[in-house]
Amino acid sequence: MRVAMGNNLATELLRTLTHRVHLLTAEQAARGWFATEANPLAAAAAVLAELSSRQLVERAVIEARTAGDATRPVFQWQPSQNTPCSETWLALAELLSARWSGDMFTTEVYFAAPRAANLLGVRPPGLGRPCEWSHDLRITEVYLYYRATKPALARRWRGEMARPKWGRRIAQMKDPDAMLVDDDATITQVIEIAGKYSAAHLADLHDHCAGGAYERFETWRSGAGVGYARNPYERIEIGYELW
């Protein structure tokens, strides 16, 4: 199949792999972008092969495992709600620890090549470490769920690769897996794919979203001496979803 480069789907895949998710299988691409084609998988594979031949994406075979249903979050919190108690974190940690135990499977994935990353203004994401692959494929699943059911929010989705790494500059600052942002790039929602997180880790993540990130950013900003343009956490308390 000959693919016209520069078409919207090829561009959309590149934007997805540089600003929204790390990895994508041909099957996920087929489901997300080529569902109306006569043979969605063949169409997706052809576009990805063309992007690969132009050194815009790279491919690799990985081993990963699924972590169950990706149609609703495991846990969510909004600023209007109370702060969860320590028992909640303990119960949630137990649940999260049990769910990453399915069988491993092998799959071919695509990720943005340095050329695409340079064109679109992000660090080349690379393939990541083997221990991140299951997590990265789940991010893609959640993004596809958003795309299918909440397209307006999906357009506001920014992966961690598309945001400054504040965790490298600001002590104890976290860089969540994905965020929804408004027109001014202010974060309106945090999305985290929860690994085998401990109760303490979950409480830290809650603190990050419930005002901790805002305060750390303000402290850093005043210490830097010059006003950084915006505090991306200026809503102070930000809702989050754990998937």
Binding site: N118, A162, Y228
Partner: protein
């Protein structure tokens, strides 16, 4: 001898931007021909007479660009009118500049080397790239230098470092350095950085903000998105893997 009248506006366009496309000549601010189809007819006629050379903007693609030939340069007594062979990255950079200058929301006329030397004699240096124009920002008019980001094979924000080097280099000259410093101090200079997409423009803006927080001063770099550049770049072979020295050697050989 040139049989078909060579419009003065086309000569002027080629002097400033070095290449032309039918779409650019038909753009609202240029208006050399009312439609791309009519501009194509003019360009094809002049090509058949050996005054212009046509080639695909991106190898294997349908969109053509045109440059003046030695015959046309001789006819107009301007050896600079005919550029040497343009590598893919050079022609894409020139296309991006021409697209930004002549077919954007605002017309920004690039200065010829002679015009720049006349307006800014103390800043003008032999061999200076023809990439200056005047940018209107509210009530302020800035001297602007155009840089084009083609992605390339290096770090995504290397182009910002390149802008910094450009500015530092121009601050070093004794006379030109003082004048350049005054322009910077009075907010009368900017590097206009042409990029392929909004995402890159936003990322560069974020890097500039971070640098400003770190150093206490903001680099006078303003990113602009050039419509159509992204599609051309993803269709073109990977650029940026050659060093400047390799590029110059290749150009000399050509």
């Amino acid at each position: 001898m040139v049989a078909t009248p060579f419009p003065d506006a086309l000569v002027d366009f080629l002097r400033r931007y070095r290449l032309a496309t039918a779409e650019l000549l038909a753009a609202e601010h240029v208006g050399l021909r009312p439609t791309p189809a009519e501009a194509t007819r003019l360009l094809e006629t002049l090509s058949q007479e050996g005054c212009l050379r046509a080639a695909p903007l991106v190898p294997g693609d349908r969109q053509l660009y045109y440059t003046a030939t030695a015959k046309a340069a001789k006819h107009f007594g301007d050896p600079d009118l005919a550029p040497p062979h343009l590598a893919v990255d050079e022609r894409l950079a020139l296309w991006a500049i021409a697209r930004f200058a002549t077919a954007g929301e605002r017309f920004r006329q690039l200065m010829t080397a002679a015009e720049f030397a006349e307006c800014f004699p103390d800043l003008s240096q032999p061999g200076e790239p023809r990439r200056y124009y005047l940018e209107q920002v509210g009530e302020v008019t800035r001297l602007a230098f155009l840089k084009v980001d083609l992605g390339g094979a290096s770090h995504w924000d290397r182009v910002v470092d390149s802008c910094l080097r450009f500015i530092n280099k121009r601050l070093q000259g004794r006379v030109a350095g003082d004048l350049f410093r005054q322009l910077l101090e009075h907010d009368r200079f900017q590097v206009s950085l042409l990029v392929a997409c909004e995402e890159k423009a936003e990322a560069i803006q974020a890097r500039l903000d971070l640098d400003a927080a770190k150093w206490g001063a903001k680099l006078p770099v303003v990113p602009y998105v050039v419509p159509g550049l992204f599609d051309l770049l993803i269709k073109s072979p990977l650029q940026g893997s050659l060093s400047r020295r390799q590029m110059l050697q290749r150009r000399r050989t050509a």
